[in-house]
């Protein structure tokens, strides 16, 4: 059975979940609104990915409890992030090739 302390803790968590939910909904509307702004392609990509990253961090930190998770999981995810970013840069090599070949 849960103790009074646990119950208070979970009730506190629920308040945080509601704040995160409201923030995520607001950021969704903001990212759609931002897509109608008169921005250059680069600025639009930067803004949209920044908002998506903030939203993603909120989901990972609070709904997935990463903010209070054990160190082992943080290490696993950091290693994953390294390989993920390498994967994102692999397409760039083809453009280096293209420019080398003229």
């Amino acid at each position: 059975m849960s103790t009074n302390h646990d119950t208070k803790d979970i009730q506190q968590h629920i308040k945080v979940y509601m704040i995160v939910f409201a923030t995520l909904a607001a950021l969704t509307v903001a990212t759609v609104a931002a897509s109608y702004l008169d921005l250059s392609r680069g600025e639009a990509i930067f803004l949209a990915l920044t908002i998506a990253s903030v939203k993603g961090s909120l989901v990972a930190s609070y709904f997935m409890h990463l903010i209070s998770e054990k160190a082992l999981i943080t290490w696993i995810l950091m290693l994953t992030a390294v390989f993920f970013f390498i994967l994102m840069f692999i397409p760039m090599t083809s453009f280096i090739d293209q420019s080398r070949l003229g």
Binding site: D6, Y17, T28, T31, A48, F63, M64, M88, P91
Partner: protein
């Protein structure tokens, strides 16, 4: 023999086994979607200037925005179903899990409407490289939603009997499927802007 570390934490990892297992699985999922995000970058840079943005104009932004809000709501109801179990409130668990499934179903119905609208306009994966990667990414994401729904349904009705015999293990099971569900939401959070808005 009982399966060890379903509830108690291992001394070396500080985690129950399923928690470590799901995070390793999610790490592999990051790389699966990462490969396709990488393909998206490759195809976008390879397309004529501004073509990806132009081809993307065919998509329905209001419907996709609604779908984003539905999926975010499903993440909240998912985490609330876990919190309800922590508060020993099985009735609220049933309610929130049911709502999560309803949101998931709503997401799929909207996706179905989007897909059929494209097919009606003779837009297919073979139409251009944008729609090739659009259908691949959203199709794979949709399969993840369907897979998640099967597990959610199991824990909503048939698997719920474990609550009576081992409530802690059942709560952990809900937490684990919740982590998967939030990941599926997280992937969509990135798919939405790159496919619909940019």
């Amino acid at each position: 023999m009982d399966i060890p570390y379903t509830v108690e934490e291992r001394s070396d990892t500080g985690l129950f086994n399923a928690k470590l297992g799901i995070w390793l699985f999610l790490a592999s999922e990051v790389m699966l979607f990462g490969g396709l995000f990488s393909a998206y970058i490759f195809l976008r840079f390879g397309a004529p200037d501004g073509a990806f943005h132009e081809w993307g104009q065919e998509l329905n932004i209001p419907l996709a925005t609604l779908n984003t809000l539905i999926l975010i709501s499903s993440s909240v109801t998912m985490v609330m179903s876990w919190a309800s179990l922590k508060l020993q409130d099985i009735k609220k668990y049933k309610l929130y899990m049911g709502l999560t499934l309803l949101c998931a179903l709503g997401f799929l119905v909207i996706k179905y409407l989007e897909y059929t609208a494209k097919f009606d306009h003779h837009i297919f994966p073979s139409t251009n490289t944008f729609f090739a990667i659009y259908f691949t990414l959203t199709g794979l994401h949709g399969l993840h939603i369907i897979g998640g729904m099967i597990v959610l349904f199991y824990l909503w009705i048939p698997g719920r009997k474990m609550w009576l015999s081992n409530s802690e293990q059942f709560t952990n099971r809900v937490e684990i499927v919740g982590l998967y569900w939030h990941f599926v939401d997280l992937v969509w959070i990135f798919l939405f802007p790159i496919l619909y808005l940019l």
